[in-house]
């Protein structure tokens, strides 16, 4: 009987050891990432579409991922160049361009630069009734060196005066980005809505406003409104740092640099 109890204890200890080992070797490490959001103001017009000017700004903050709104691709306006790839070359990052619509013999839309390779990327477009123009939302899925995966999306909601247009866009985004998605997700960009707007009330049903209470983001020379956001899903992101940085020579929006973690 004594022998049996000893054997049982041994087994129990062994099982506990295995569970502990599994826990220690699992992907339990914290997801920690630095993201940056930049509205390029008409494709980079304020800085004469100069890739080095924008790259220098990005380099200063060394983000893991940068999301862009209002990015031109081979337009007559930007001198027929691929500004995103040029910045990717300068910064040693991986580019993804998401087209919203054809513009000036080229393309207009959102874009993403990532320090790490991404294994999924999507762009979807939406233009609900009443929207001023077609808007895109794009996302990438990446696996970080510690094996944690994350989805990072960029959007630029319509500028219409009607909140219902943006809410409709957000509903589409939610259904496409969050359905069947188990990854911690960030939705970053220009929402064209202040925190007290109906658009943001709707957004907060699903998303966490990670930069809640932080500085205004527009205009870059005299910020009076907060319309650029880093939103997180599920609502368990931890803000470690959140800066709103303004470069009037680069954009009419201030940029966001955020250090965030997901347990």
């Amino acid at each position: 009987m004594v022998y049996k109890i000893a054997s049982y204890k041994k087994r129990l200890f062994f099982a506990f050891f295995l569970i502990l080992l599994a826990y220690l070797t699992s992907d339990a490490q914290t997801l920690s990432i630095r993201v940056m959001s930049m509205n390029m103001k008409e494709g980079g017009k304020l800085a004469n579409f100069n890739a080095e000017t924008y790259s220098a700004c990005i380099r200063e903050y060394n983000p893991d991922v940068v999301v862009f709104q209002e990015m031109d691709n081979f337009t007559t306006r930007n001198g027929n160049k691929d500004l995103l790839s040029e910045m990717a070359v300068k910064l040693g990052m991986f580019p993804y361009y998401g087209k919203a619509f054809t513009y000036a013999s080229g393309d207009f839309g959102n874009a993403i630069l990532s320090k790490y390779p991404f294994y999924n990327a999507r762009t979807l477009i939406s233009q609900p009734s009443g929207a001023v123009e077609m808007r895109a939302y794009s996302w990438i899925d990446l696996v970080l060196p510690n094996k944690r995966k994350v989805r990072i999306a960029v959007t630029h909601l319509d500028v219409s005066s009607d909140d219902q247009v943006r809410i409709s866009m957000l509903a589409t985004i939610n259904s496409n980005i969050l359905t069947d998605n188990k990854l911690p997700t960030l939705l970053i960009g220009d929402f064209n809505a202040t925190p007290d707007a109906e658009t943001m009330n709707y957004a907060r049903f699903k998303w966490q406003d990670i930069g809640e209470g932080t500085a205004n983001t527009i205009s870059s020379s005299n910020p009076t409104k907060r319309i650029d956001y880093v939103m997180g899903y599920p609502k368990s992101w931890i803000k470690k740092g959140y800066e709103v940085v303004c470069y009037p020579g680069l954009s009419d929006h201030c940029f966001i640099v955020a250090d965030i973690e997901h347990p």
Binding site: D82, F94, N120
Partner: protein, 266 residues
């Protein structure tokens, strides 16, 4: 029981046993999936060309600024649907060769990683001409990375294909590959990749018994010192028709011609 009776009983038992064995269903051997023969004639209008650059060994592809000639080629020969660069490894924070090629040729670049690191990543670069709305892949660290772009192939009638790539170094990757492809072989997923030579037969055997409606071909090359073999894996409505070996400067390149067979033949 006398001797004669015993003999009779034994004989009857033997006959019954023999009869029952002979009436059993014949034992069937699962020979796995075999794709039907494709049409003998190649329809040139339905050929997709993909250029696959690879040393087919463990070395990184770009070693001495070989990308310049590749840039010239991509800028002048525009017929391939995509250009793949096996082992176009990237150093974090430094310009990736394939991103640079994309920028210089005014195309779009993608990268399918094969390892995970915060400093140096092995993988396959992909260059395509259009803006891509769907880059699709899977990342199972320590097991398998696979990815590719969904593109419209400009054939007789345009056909949407997802051109993917992966590198197979271990047998344990095969189940993951099958899981990921799943019904993908019914949705025009074409995989051009490399497999370590000594497991290519195992790959063939595994897919034969775990996947259906596919065609798999391996391509022999005369390249010295190679450790890997090029493979083309398609749904049965496609077929890897030909792989032409060439060099661009000093870089070995394989021009893969895949034919769209239009109708599904199950």
């Amino acid at each position: 029981m006398n001797r004669q009776k015993l003999k009779t009983i034994l004989l009857i038992s033997f006959c019954i046993a023999g009869f029952s064995f002979s009436c059993k269903d014949p034992v069937t051997v699962d020979e796995g999936y075999e794709a039907p023969n494709p049409p003998a004639e190649v329809n040139q209008r339905n050929l997709i060309t993909v250029e696959f650059y690879s040393r087919l060994n463990e070395e990184t592809l770009f070693q001495n600024n070989e990308s310049e000639l590749v840039v010239n080629r991509i800028s002048s020969i525009t017929s391939p649907l995509a250009y793949l660069f096996d082992r176009s490894d990237a150093v974090m924070g430094q310009t990736s060769p394939v991103v640079e090629i994309g920028w210089q040729t005014q195309t779009k670049s993608f990268f399918v990683q094969n390892t995970l690191s915060d400093s140096y990543v092995q993988g396959t670069g992909m260059i395509v001409r259009p803006i891509v709305n769907v880059f699709e892949g899977a990342s199972i660290p320590d097991t398998l990375f696979i990815g590719g772009c969904t593109l419209m192939a400009p054939l007789g009638n345009p056909v949407t294909v997802t051109l993917m790539t992966c590198k197979l170094d271990h047998k344990m990757q095969f189940p993951a590959l099958v899981n990921i492809l799943g019904d993908g072989l019914n949705t025009n997923k074409l995989v051009i990749g490399t497999v370590k030579q000594h497991i290519s037969e195992d790959m063939k055997h595994f897919l034969k018994h775990h996947l259906k409606y596919f065609r798999l071909s391996f391509h022999e090359t005369g390249l010295e010192g190679r450790t890997h073999q090029l493979f083309i894996l398609t749904p049965i409505n496609f077929i890897g028709r030909e792989v032409l070996s060439a060099t661009v400067g000093t870089l070995p390149m394989y021009q893969c011609k895949i034919e769209y067979l239009k109708t599904l033949i199950y």
